[in-house]
């Protein structure tokens, strides 16, 4: 326990101090900047947290560089954006029936009728209260669960089991994301394949490069993800708007805001918030299942348990509480598989992992939570697990982001109505230009830019063919880890061709993967 408290203390301290011990408030400032950006982005229709994180990452890396000192400011800003966006999306959903983010769609069902009845302020404050409470709850679960899972994984799982776990995660993701799981899994394998370009693990020179020296260092990671996630989405939206000859209708005037939410009303919401946050946390901890599922499940549960289910959909605060507490709770819980296993479960987590892989030498995974005794050795300095200190530093920044969401978020949410007037058909081209510039700047030239464009076309094709992008991106990110694990497991087994089937745990995980695969095939037959 004492060791745990020591590491927590070092983690908190590391956020506010430089390696030399001087006071350093940049991570705090960048977390605040991130929260503000996130809330603004969340309140802008057509934008989402991951969208903003994708564009912010290259800009942040350009500003702060690649050193270990850059990690906290970069991660602080990204975590702030992720959390701020979950709060901001509710404002246009409530006031204008236009969800700022896809997660906020269900909030329109009850939030907007409340606003139409002259209870706009109450609806916005309900959304803010439920959202931030839900987020806080899931962060608490993250702080408890991630170390426990990581320690268990590190003790129980060896190389074959870890390989099987990644395979199972990818199969699970393909099975639950999108309507075409077989093709989703194929997309995941394609993502893995593309990430091998330019790499080598046996010292025989870069592979799969078509003898192009530019590809010898591999494909630029951030540009590739920026292309497949952001640029492809922009292309799809631009095409849809062009085809629809879309003209943004003039937004309606903001409705009468009405009275404030009382403290008694806030207190009476707590049981419903706890229920919604629990559902969001459970759903969020599973890779691939998004906020919409959590919000839908929470809304249905709240409606079934309500004494007045007929009020749902007609402007009851219980509906806003159910959706907002659940969809915000997903964001913290999504980091449970990231921090404990190094496996991202959604797009926001992808950018947190990308930032960690790009900046400094910290890496997520079960090894982070080794509680190595802290020892002072003369002449060598302090011996400890610095990754664990960094992990507690990241937790600290999440707590800071929550504090900013409580305070700044509450103030900002009342002022965000005008953002709905930003026309999407002007904003998306600007985002495209910013994204291409960011790809060029961060990845050192046209290689980054061309990679982003090529991956944008891949993403465009996948989206048009209704194949989920998430397995592709996760496959692209996890391939180097999986290859290292598979090669290690094969070598350790002495060249046994059944090296993944020798342990009961990996056998069970692979059997589950096969079960999911069979389910996918059956699903394709009955669809």
């Amino acid at each position: 326990m004492e060791l745990l408290l020591q590491y927590i203390g070092l983690g908190v301290s590391s956020v506010f101090h430089t390696a030399e011990g001087g006071l350093w408030l940049m991570p705090l400032a960048m977390t605040l900047v991130g929260v503000v950006i996130g809330i603004l982005i969340g309140a802008t229709p057509g934008m989402s947290g991951p969208f903003a994180m994708a564009i912010a990452l290259p800009v942040l890396v350009s500003i702060f560089g690649y050193t270990n000192e850059a990690l906290y400011p970069v991660l602080g800003c990204l975590v702030g954006i992720m959390k701020g966006a979950t709060v901001g999306g509710a404002v246009p959903a409530i006031l204008f029936n236009t969800p700022g983010t896809p997660d906020a769609f269900l909030t329109t069902l009850d939030g907007h009728p409340m606003a139409q009845r002259g209870q706009g302020r109450k609806a916005v404050q309900t959304a803010h209260f439920a959202s931030v409470m839900g987020d806080n709850f899931s962060d608490l679960m993250l702080f408890i669960a991630a170390p426990i899972i990581a320690v268990a994984v590190e003790r129980v799982l060896g190389l074959p089991e870890k390989s099987a776990l990644i395979i199972l995660s990818l199969c699970f993701m393909a099975a639950v994301v999108g309507q075409a799981p077989l093709k989703g899994l194929l997309g995941g394998l394609l993502g893995m394949f593309l990430s091998l370009i330019g790499s080598t693990l046996s010292g025989n020179g870069p592979r799969l490069t078509f003898d192009l020296p530019e590809l010898g260092g591999g494909l630029p990671l951030t540009s590739a993800v920026l292309g497949v996630l952001v640029l492809s989405e922009v292309l799809i939206s631009v095409e849809d708007m062009r085809r629809a000859r879309h003209q943004d209708a003039a937004p309606q005037a903001a409705p009468e805001m009405g009275p404030k939410l009382t403290w008694w009303e806030r207190a009476s919401m707590l049981p419903a918030i706890l229920r919604g946050a629990s559902i969001g946390t459970l759903i969020g901890a599973l890779p691939g299942i998004g906020t919409t599922t959590a919000a839908t499940l929470s809304y249905d549960t709240a409606k079934r348990r309500s004494k007045t289910p007929e009020d749902f959909g007609h402007g009851t605060p219980d509906g806003v509480v159910a959706t907002e507490s659940a969809n915000s709770a997903v964001s913290g819980a999504n980091l449970i598989p990231v921090m404990s296993l190094g496996i991202p479960g959604n797009f926001a987590a992808v950018f947190i992992i990308l930032a960690v892989e790009t900046v400094g030498d910290f890496a997520f995974g079960p090894q982070v939570f080794r509680f190595t005794p802290i020892q002072e050795i003369e002449g060598f300095g302090t011996l400890m697990n610095k990754d664990l200190v960094t992990a507690f530093g990241i937790f600290t920044m999440m707590v800071l982001a929550n504090a900013f969401n409580w305070t700044v978020g509450g103030v900002l949410m009342g002022l965000l109505g005008y953002l709905v007037r930003i026309p999407k058909d002007v904003m998306l081209p600007v985002i495209l230009t910013i994204s291409l510039t960011a790809a060029y700047v961060q990845d050192g030239g046209y290689l980054g830019l061309i990679t982003a464009c090529v991956f944008a076309l891949i993403g465009y094709a996948l989206r048009r063919l209704k194949i989920s992008i998430l397995p592709f991106v996760i496959g692209f990110l996890l391939a180097p880890t999986l290859e290292g694990l598979v090669r290690g497991a094969f070598t350790a087994s002495g060249g046994n061709p059944f090296f993944l089937l020798t342990s009961p745990i990996s056998l069970t995980m692979l059997a589950l993967s096969v079960f999911l695969l069979v389910r996918m095939v059956r699903q394709s037959r009955v669809s």
Binding site: V59, L186, L190, R207, I434, T437, A479, L482, T491, R525
Partner: protein
């Protein structure tokens, strides 16, 4: 076939056809990888001997496993679709309303390809203008005697030559896509594009050191 009978036929198997084409395409890609690409572009084989004589995976080990899995999944998709198509044909004779087409899939039509082509041309031409504007400005100022640079490379660290290409190219790119979405371009849209390009110049060239805007990192 009468019009009435045509109307009772199930919808064309457009979605299903895409499943077939995708699976056949993936199988072809796998074959190409295993027979041509991997042998020519991977330095070590599936397995190799290390210095101690132990058998360890080569660089082709993981790619071959991946491609094998892709081929397996593509075969499953193909068989599933073929089976579905057969069942559907049989069912359509008995119950013409049966319109299921296997695993859901979208499609990419000629209009999508035309849009993508337009986007490629628009992006490529903006990038070309981005690359040429700086050198053209240097040539112009040299020609009228304002500067005496040996070329753009010599001027690429000096304002405004270092940002001129990016400013013009980024503005054109933004304007081009705004025109694509709105079917028109208002003066306000051009102003937005100019401000966005200006803000990016200010951020990346003014506030951040050690980064280069396009095309300066590729001179």
């Amino acid at each position: 076939m009468t019009d009435a009978s045509r109307q009772t036929q199930p919808a064309p198997l457009r979605g299903g056809r895409w499943n077939l084409w995708l699976s056949i395409g993936v199988l072809g890609f796998c074959l190409l990888c295993l027979t041509l690409w991997f042998p020519h572009d991977i330095g070590s084989g599936f397995l190799q001997q290390n210095l101690t004589g132990r058998t360890v995976p080569g660089d082709a080990f993981f790619p071959v496993l991946l491609v094998g899995l892709m081929a397996l999944l593509a075969t499953l998709l193909l068989l599933s679709q073929l089976r579905h198509t057969t069942l559907r044909r049989q069912a359509s004779d008995a119950t013409p309303k049966h319109t299921s087409t296997g695993e859901p899939v979208g499609h990419i039509g000629t209009d999508n390809l035309a849009f993508v082509l337009r986007a490629i041309v628009l992006t490529a031409s903006s990038l070309l203008i981005m690359s040429w504007t700086g050198p053209a400005l240097v040539w112009l100022t040299n020609a009228i005697g304002l500067t005496d640079y040996s070329g753009y490379r010599a001027a690429s660290g000096t304002f405004p030559f270092n940002v001129s290409g990016f400013f013009v190219g980024a503005t054109l790119l933004t304007c081009g896509y705004i025109h694509t979405t709105r079917h028109r371009l208002r003066p306000l849209d051009v102003l937005v594009a100019l401000v966005a390009a200006g803000a990016l110049v200010l951020l990346f060239n003014g506030l951040i050191d050690n980064v280069q805007l396009p095309p300066n990192a590729d001179l």
